[in-house]
């Protein structure tokens, strides 16, 4: 087991290193650079000013040289200076990380609390009207464009009914937990609905698979109660494949968070990355993307461990 853990950690580090180079190169492909942006916003800047500033910011060096310098600093915990926010990248990132974790955590818990029981019940009687409704609702939430869903929620609950704020993380001048919660309602609902469909389908498929296994028939033959069969026998076994799928869905959860945060102007990681890319804030975009990748890799790693713990037949060496 410990050898497995070490191997996976090494793997994660390798993937992270490769991704950092890929992302660094990708960001190098973005048009212009911070100084070009400054020129755009200030007509008084001359070309000579631009050349001087580029040299000052180290933008005139080749890509690999800049990457090596960046990596060296990053390994010492220095992810550089965010141009858009004029402070160290980590200082910008960490509070945002908390906001995103709050949004994603709440929404993920809510998603599972809704989708899994429904999926389980739907799998019990495939083809029933309940299964039909569950299936249709999962298809609907898979098919809805997340940004449009957010737009419609804003239209109904913020613009027309005026019940909830259309965006932001807190009311100016109000403060307090209730106010924070108010601002979380629409983003959480959006993100929950978008992830609801896939989770329901995963659960339904996994349960259908296990409900046809011999041991379930055995349990039935032995006269075990239906509830007991579902929860004790079928669910436990269905959870094993589910863990993997859930871990794999982490990346799409983050993608959903980017859209949701952008729509609701919620100060999280997703919006930060989007703003950083549009604002040519190289350091910030890079660190944000790397953090998102790291979070995904860690989620997968955690799933592997959970997988091993859940299924005694699997022994990692």
């Amino acid at each position: 087991m410990s050898r497995f853990v070490v191997r996976r950690i090494v793997e994660i580090l390798v993937v992270l290193a490769v991704m950092s180079l890929v992302i660094y190169a990708l960001i190098g492909l973005m048009p212009g650079d911070p100084v070009d942006l400054m020129i755009a916003s200030n007509p008084h800047l001359t070309v000579a000013d631009a050349a001087r500033l580029k040299a000052l910011y180290g933008l005139d060096k080749p890509l690999l040289e800049r990457y090596a310098a960046w990596l060296g600093a990053a390994l010492h915990g220095d992810f550089g200076y965010s141009r858009l926010y004029a402070r160290s990248t980590l200082a910008v990132l960490i509070p945002r990380l908390g906001n995103t974790a709050l949004l994603m955590g709440m929404s993920f818990a809510l998603t599972l609390a809704l989708a899994w029981p429904l999926g389980l019940l739907a799998a019990r009687r495939p083809g029933s009207w309940f299964d039909g409704v569950a299936n249709l609702s999962s298809f609907a939430t898979i098919s809805v464009p997340s940004f449009w869903l957010a737009l419609m929620l804003i239209l109904v609950f913020a613009v027309q009914l005026g019940w909830l704020p259309p965006g932001g993380a807190a009311t100016i001048g109000a403060g307090g937990v209730a106010d924070r919660a108010d601002h979380l309602v629409l983003p959480v609902i959006t993100l929950t609905l978008v992830n609801f469909g896939p989770q329901l389908r995963y659960m339904r498929a996994a349960m259908m698979e296990t409900l046809h296994q011999d041991y379930i028939r055995t349990a039935r033959a032995k006269g075990a109660g239906e509830a007991r069969i579902l929860t004790r026998h079928a669910l436990r076994n269905a959870l094993i494949p589910l863990i993997t799928v859930v871990a794999l869905s982490f990346g799409s959860l983050f993608s959903g968070a980017l859209v949701t945060e952008t729509m609701f102007a919620y100060p999280g990681m997703g919006k930060l990355i989007y703003d950083a890319v549009l604002g040519n804030d190289y350091n910030l975009a890079l660190a944000g993307l790397l953090f998102a990748t790291l979070m995904t890799l860690l989620a997968n790693f955690a799933a592997d461990l959970a997988y091993a713990a859940a299924d005694p037949r699997i022994a990692y060496r």
């Binding site: 755009a40 259309p166 009311t171 108010d182 959480v188």
Partner: protein
């Protein structure tokens, strides 16, 4: 899902919509957070707006577009002897200016602003390593000397009519900033304005910054050392709200009292807001110096023909665009000089909407139409042009689509090719890889468009792509006029030169003038004294004139 929603809604007690109102507090919404608070680095509107509350420039243009002293006692002039012509070693004529700082000009730690501060600021500004974005002014200042505690002289390397305007000379507190400047290359990171913005001694305006919540808000309180008129509001909080829907919601909920015009709602959204909440706010529309126009690349064989350029302008209905899209708040431009500027003249060639005239001009230029199709010339080439603008700018994209439709009516096919601002300005314009490009100039009052219009300012490999005469206008008379205007000290004579330049521009059309963009200031009914300037210097320079009138009564009535 309905059930979940209801449960969630019940769980959350709606927040108190109205924060406890304090009569002597003001909260202002702007749409961007300043990336830095250092006056010299990375100029941006958000920063100049906030710094306008806490710092005072040496000189500035006021709301009547007159040059005035803010930190200095008297504007130097040849009449009062504070300005003197001097002969420079290279044979040119320069000018030496003497400024005396006001006796009550003090930093917020109580120490006076001194001539030494001015010398230090000049050293920081002219050092190529400090990361000062706009170095032109500091290059012109060839010497700054402290005469006594309050007096210093500035020597400029040329004599222009606006010699006394040192609006962008940012005076820094030498005592505090000198340590950060010890290593000039590190200055932009170590400046106390960014590392420790609430430290006493950085601000010489009516307010001082007492709290900075990055990305969210900046709190300002009265500067006890301020020697000028005592400002009405005890506390001002400037909130950055990037999402315009959230900006509006906070305004309605009372979290924000006002939205800045310099950096708030785009005009079209402000108009929509005004329509929905008629009467709840004072909304001031101030047309400004943002000159929206379409640069035409004169080296393009099609656009080199003046008749084609005139036809392009006759074919578009600028009046209707301004009226329908911007509720008539954006005045139509006839040249690059806005009606508010004292050098403006209405006596220039004009191009009212006249599709018939446009068609006739195109026929005369050899572009013939058959039915409704795109025009062709004798060689069979189709009259196809491309128009670029900054992508993501909603107003411009809308206007662009209107223009495309109107040009199609006279047989000109225009393809739209929008680019992010950084590509358009950072590459396409500088390298002159465009045919038509829509964007705006923003400038100071009576700003001489030398680098935009003079023939030696055309970017090319030979001059290392410097200059902003992107259109490639080569007009000997315009060159002479630009030179003459810069050095003509007599106002009446200068006005004549300006009027000739405007008429020449409108006759030759190196660019298609569209309109001057207006800013929308959304103010509460009880706030008085806010005067939009219409130029690049913010209304916050006069914050001590802002005050509340009958605020409590208004709040109760709502």
């Amino acid at each position: 899902m309905r059930r979940v929603l209801v449960v969630l809604l019940c769980l959350l007690v709606p927040a108190a919509a109205y924060a406890a109102e304090r009569a002597d507090e003001l909260s202002i919404g702007i749409s961007q957070f300043p990336a830095t608070l250092n006056p010299l680095i990375n100029p941006m509107v958000a920063k100049s707006y906030v710094l306008g509350l806490v710092r005072r420039p040496l000189t500035t243009y006021d709301a009547d577009w007159k040059l005035v002293c803010m930190l200095c006692e008297t504007l130097p002039s040849f009449a009062n002897g504070l300005a003197q012509k001097i002969a420079l070693p290279d044979g040119k004529t320069g000018v030496r200016l003497t400024y005396t700082l006001k006796a009550d000009a003090r930093w917020d730690d109580g120490t006076p602003v001194t001539g030494d501060d001015a010398v230090f600021s000049w050293q920081v500004g002219r050092n190529p390593q400090t990361g000062v974005a706009e170095a032109e002014l500091y290059r012109r200042m060839i010497d700054v000397k402290a005469i006594d505690a309050r007096t210093f002289t500035v020597t400029l390397d040329r004599l222009t009519f606006d010699y006394a305007a040192l609006n962008d000379f940012e005076i820094l507190p030498a005592r505090i900033e000198r340590a950060a400047f010890a290593q000039p290359a590190e200055y932009r990171i170590r400046s106390r304005y960014d590392t420790d913005p609430t430290v006493r001694g950085l601000y010489d305006g009516p307010y001082r910054i007492t709290e900075v919540a990055p990305g969210s808000h900046i709190v300002l309180e009265r500067n006890p050392a301020w020697g000028g008129r005592r400002p009405y509001f005890r506390r001002i909080v400037v909130w950055s709200v990037e999402n315009t829907a959230a900006l509006e919601a906070n305004l309605l909920a009372g979290g924000l009292d006002m939205v800045a015009g310099e950096l708030g709602l785009p005009l079209d959204e402000a108009l929509a807001f005004a329509q929905r909440h008629r009467g709840a706010f004072n909304i001031i529309y101030k047309p400004g110096l943002n000159y929206e126009h379409i640069d035409l690349n004169l080296d393009d064989p099609v656009l080199a023909d003046l008749r084609v350029r005139q036809a392009l302008l006759y074919a578009i209905d600028r009046g209707a665009i301004g009226q329908e899209l911007f509720a008539g708040r954006d005045p139509v431009a006839n040249s690059f000089v806005p009606p508010l500027d004292w050098v403006y003249t209405a006596d220039v060639p004009r191009y009212p909407y006249d599709p018939a005239k446009a068609r006739a001009l195109l026929d005369a230029a050899g572009w013939h139409a058959k039915g409704t199709a795109v025009r062709r010339n004798a060689a069979g080439r189709r009259l196809v042009l491309t128009l670029a603008t900054t992508s993501g700018n909603r107003s411009r994209e809308l206007v662009e689509e209107v223009l495309q439709s109107q040009w199609r009516d006279v047989g000109i096919a225009v393809r739209l090719k929008n680019q992010p601002a950084r590509v358009l300005f950072g590459d396409s314009m500088i390298k002159r890889r465009f045919r038509m490009a829509m964007f705006a100039w923003s400038a100071a009052p009576e700003d001489v468009p030398r680098s935009e219009l003079r023939s030696d300012e055309i970017p090319s490999p030979a001059n290392n792509w410097s200059g902003e005469n992107f259109v490639g206008w080569r007009n000997a008379e315009a060159d002479q006029l630009l030179d003459a205007i810069e050095t003509e000290l007599d106002r009446a004579k200068r006005a004549v030169l300006w009027h000739r330049l405007e008429a020449l521009y409108a006759a030759q059309l190196p660019a298609l003038p569209l309109y001057f963009r207006a800013d929308a200031f959304i103010l509460p009914k009880w706030l008085a004294g806010v005067t939009p300037t219409g130029h690049e210097y913010p209304s916050t320079f006069w914050v001590e004139q802002w005050h509340a009138v009958g605020r409590g009564a208004q709040a109760r009535a709502q």
